[in-house]
């Protein structure tokens, strides 16, 4: 990956990540996160992980983020007001924690051997065939366990998100206004 591309993508990723954290409208946060995810997908492709990069775009951007969007709409979340006081401690802890992470990062950047280049890899590196070969041999058990996890998650999500009252009181059958009037007249 050429240097200018890395600088551009990195700057965009950091800006969008700040957008996720700092914007007050959840939909805007979500769009910023979509930008980060696509940005990272391009970086993955630049680093030779072509399949993973495309899968990131398909699964993360095309499915998971749309699910977030649905939930934001379902709950009808509006722009938040400015935060009220009450969690000063958490905010302090957040600032200190983030500062510690950034400090650690600075040490890391200074100390890390920045001249370490990228190793030479065969042209099929990161192709779907190479991934599949690893996935279905060395990682077969993990793969099957993940599929089970997904199934459990789907069932769990359906069980959690359906109306809890649905089993006890059946939702009323929709009746036309005319029927309502008849019932009213009888009473």
């Amino acid at each position: 990956m050429p240097l200018w591309l890395f600088v551009f993508l990195a700057a965009l990723a950091v800006l969008a990540a700040l957008g996720v954290v700092l914007q007050r409208n959840p939909v805007h946060c979500l769009m910023a996160l979509v930008v980060v995810l696509l940005d990272l997908a391009v970086m993955f492709i630049g680093l030779g992980a072509v399949t993973v990069g495309f899968l990131q775009a398909i699964v993360y951007v095309g499915a998971i983020m749309v699910l977030f969007l649905f939930v934001i709409w379902l709950l009808n979340l509006q722009t938040e007001e400015r935060r009220v006081a009450g969690s000063i401690g958490l905010r302090f802890f957040g600032a200190v924690g983030a500062a510690a992470l950034v400090a650690e990062l600075c040490v890391f950047v200074v100390k890390a051997p920045s001249t370490a280049g990228l190793s030479h890899v065969p042209p099929t590196f990161g192709s779907i065939g190479a991934i599949a070969e690893a996935l279905f041999t060395d990682y077969l058990i993990a793969f099957e366990a993940t599929s089970l996890l997904l199934l459990v998650a789907v069932i769990g999500a359906v069980a959690l998100a359906r109306r809890a009252t649905a089993s006890r009181t059946r939702s009323p059958v929709p009746v036309s206004p005319a029927v309502h009037e008849q019932i009213g007249a009888r009473q």
Partner: protein, 102 residues
């Protein structure tokens, strides 16, 4: 054409992780907190991919695939929990979701 050293990618990953961690701590909207968690997961993914490239090993990419799958499961369950909580409490503010029962 100058190639970028892998440590730069890891530095970017660490920075994104820090932003995501700060987001989880300073935001009180549960959905945005989940988004910040996704951000942290992706920062780690970037590190995996950069190291996979630098070591010439495919394992990092396979693990990223697992992370994406688990993130899908996590988002589905997490959002379902948020919907269930919102039904009962009419809020997505983490500070107000402070009772274990209602």
């Amino acid at each position: 054409m100058m190639s970028v050293p892998p440590s730069w990618f890891m530095a970017l990953g660490a920075l994104l992780f820090a932003i995501g961690a700060a987001g989880v701590l300073i935001r009180r909207n549960v959905i945005v907190m989940l988004m910040a968690i996704e951000l942290m997961l992706n920062a780690v993914n970037l590190t995996f991919i950069a190291l996979s490239r630098s070591l010439g090993s495919i394992d990092g990419q396979v693990i990223v695939l697992f992370v994406i799958t688990v993130a899908a499961a996590e988002a589905a369950t997490g959002l379902a929990i948020i919907i269930a909580a919102f039904r009962n409490r009419e809020t997505v503010n983490a500070d107000e979701l402070n009772l274990m029962r209602w």
